[in-house]
């Protein structure tokens, strides 16, 4: 398996504070990696370091073997789908959902060209995959948080990315939508072997295909290994600074805080 993301000794700032400190890690093609950790640990910053939107102070980030910098980064970003945590969209934003998904194609289409029938076909396929056809003619600002998340995922997939970065994709969703999106992430990963980096707070809901877990605390990587090893009471209790218990069921594990601990 070739390495698609190579992060070497990277320090990234967010405003005046350091949000990631001296991180080194590699992500192999086709991997589904989950990232977890307390608030402010640097999870979102890790994603923005990969797609070149974060401010790298030291070290280097290479994606597909090319260093992420300047104009090269803009080109590489066309192949990296990014679903940010939350967007604040004005209710009157003059844009329909269909355009918001097509926007994912804009980088690939390039300057001076309009979306081709092929672009429309890709968008249509993604719309069916995510199940948002009934939303297409709605103004983007009218959607609920969960619906906007689905549109954001559709936009990222419309890019036909080689890497998909998802920042808490199920945080605003109801239980059924959470399941739909997680199954979708699993399915896309299975079908396309799409390299996926997933920031997740819900450790009980990790996608089945997730084989690697990166845990961040205080801007540093404190664990990088298998999901089985990560879902350990001692590891997670240390990570979150409170007593956690892990209940194993036939469908997976449940991670919860110990009452009265």
């Amino acid at each position: 398996m070739s390495v698609v993301v190579d992060i070497q000794n990277v320090t990234v700032s967010y405003r005046e504070s350091v949000a990631l400190r001296s991180i080194s890690l590699r992500i192999e093609e086709g991997a589904l990696v989950s990232v977890a950790g307390p608030n402010g640990a640097g999870k979102t910053t890790l994603l923005t370091a990969i797609n070149g939107l974060g401010r790298v102070l030291q070290g280097s980030v290479s994606v597909f073997g090319t260093k992420m910098a300047g104009r090269t980064a803009t080109g590489i970003r066309k192949e990296i789908g990014y679903v940010p945590q939350m967007l604040s969209i004005d209710v009157r934003m003059p844009m329909k959902v269909e355009e918001a998904v097509m926007l994912g194609r804009y980088g690939r289409i390039g300057f001076f060209k309009r979306p081709s029938p092929r672009d429309r076909e890709i968008v249509s396929d993604v719309v069916d995959l995510i199940g948002i056809r009934d939303l297409l003619s709605r103004p983007i600002g009218h959607l609920s948080g969960g619906e906007q998340k689905k549109v954001a995922i559709a936009r990222a997939l419309a890019q036909e990315p080689r890497i998909l970065l998802l920042d808490e994709p199920i945080s605003d969703l109801d239980i059924s939508a959470q399941q739909t999106i997680l199954n979708l992430i699993d399915r896309i990963h299975e079908q396309k072997r799409l390299t996926t980096v997933l920031v997740m707070h819900h450790l009980s809901l990790l996608p089945g295909n997730c084989s690697r877990m990166i845990l961040l605390k205080d801007t540093k990587v404190v664990f990088d290994g298998s999901v089985e090893d990560a879902l350990n009471e001692d590891v997670l209790s240390r990570l979150y600074g409170c007593r956690l218990e892990i209940i194993k069921t036939e469908h997976g594990v449940i991670v919860q805080a110990k009452v009265n601990a």
């Binding site: 939107l53 209710v91 009157r92 844009m95 994912g104 804009y106 983007i140 009218h142 936009r155 890019q159």
Partner: protein
């Protein structure tokens, strides 16, 4: 009104109102959707400061106004990005600098300051053919760039971070939008005046914003409202013998309030209301 069109000054005024109305209301769409309402004020004061410096130094005031606007436009984006401000804050800073410079230059002009003050009020009835040509060229460039880069502009208006994440060079596009706004305002300073241009930027676009969820339609509607405001403004100012700029602004404000009252968006309830 029709017989008036045989006069060259009136032909010029009508041409200026079409060009000014269209171009100001087009950049109004940027200003309204990107929520930088005071961009117009800031730019018009930059143009004002530049125009006065031009008068002071004996250089063409229009060229200096354009230069100052473009300099401001070049500063606003990077100042906002570097200082991590909302762009409107950067606009405020540039505005205060330009206002300070304008008063400084004004004080330095010896004798009566009539010519300098005319930059504040403008006069659509004294527009020259040269002004029309410059306005026409700039309006054409803006519309051509809008057509060529529509999808990139649409992405940047939607969200700069998303635009960057899909591989659009959002920074040049964003700074370019500010730059074009500067050029348009400078080009229309003579006609509509530094103070009143603000309303012609904001009102037609804000009115269009009430009526549509399509950015393309918003550009068309805003342009139409801009031209309508200028036409009706010219007409009523002639009939009632009122200052043209002031009537244009009153008409554009009335159009806005009519659109607000009849807006289908008024019924929208729910998420993210600001």
């Amino acid at each position: 009104m029709l017989e008036l069109l045989q006069y060259q000054f009136m032909q010029n005024a009508v041409l200026a109102s079409i060009l000014g109305g269209v171009s100001c209301s087009i950049i109004g769409v940027f200003v309204v959707t990107m929520e930088i309402p005071f961009l117009g004020v800031s730019m018009s004061h930059s143009a004002f400061a530049g125009g006065i410096l031009g008068l002071l130094l004996g250089i063409d005031p229009f060229a200096m106004a354009l230069l100052f606007c473009l300099l401001s436009a070049l500063l606003i984006g990077p100042v906002a990005d570097k200082a991590d401000f909302n762009p409107d804050m950067a606009v405020g800073i540039i505005f205060s600098i330009m206002l300070g410079l304008a008063f400084l230059f004004l004080a330095m002009i010896p004798g009566p300051k009539t010519e300098a003050l005319s930059l504040i009020w403008g006069s659509i009835l004294t527009v020259s053919r040269k002004d029309i040509v410059v306005m026409g060229i700039i309006a054409f460039i803006v519309m051509a760039l809008l057509a060529l880069f529509f999808k990139e502009i649409q992405a940047v208006i939607f969200d700069r971070e998303i635009a960057a994440s899909v591989g659009i060079p959002e920074r040049p596009i964003y700074y370019g939008i500010l730059f074009l706004s500067g050029a348009i305002i400078a080009a229309n300073l003579n006609t509509i005046g530094g103070l009143l241009i603000f309303s012609l930027v904001i009102n037609p676009a804000a009115a269009a914003y009430q009526l549509t969820y399509s950015l393309r339609n918003m550009f068309f509607l805003s342009g139409a409202f801009g031209v309508l405001s200028c036409f009706l403004g010219l007409f009523f100012s002639y009939i009632f013998n009122f200052p043209t700029g002031a009537v244009i602004i009153i008409v554009s404000s009335l159009i806005f309030f009519l659109c607000l009252i009849f807006s289908p968006k008024k019924r929208v309830k729910g998420v993210n209301i600001r």
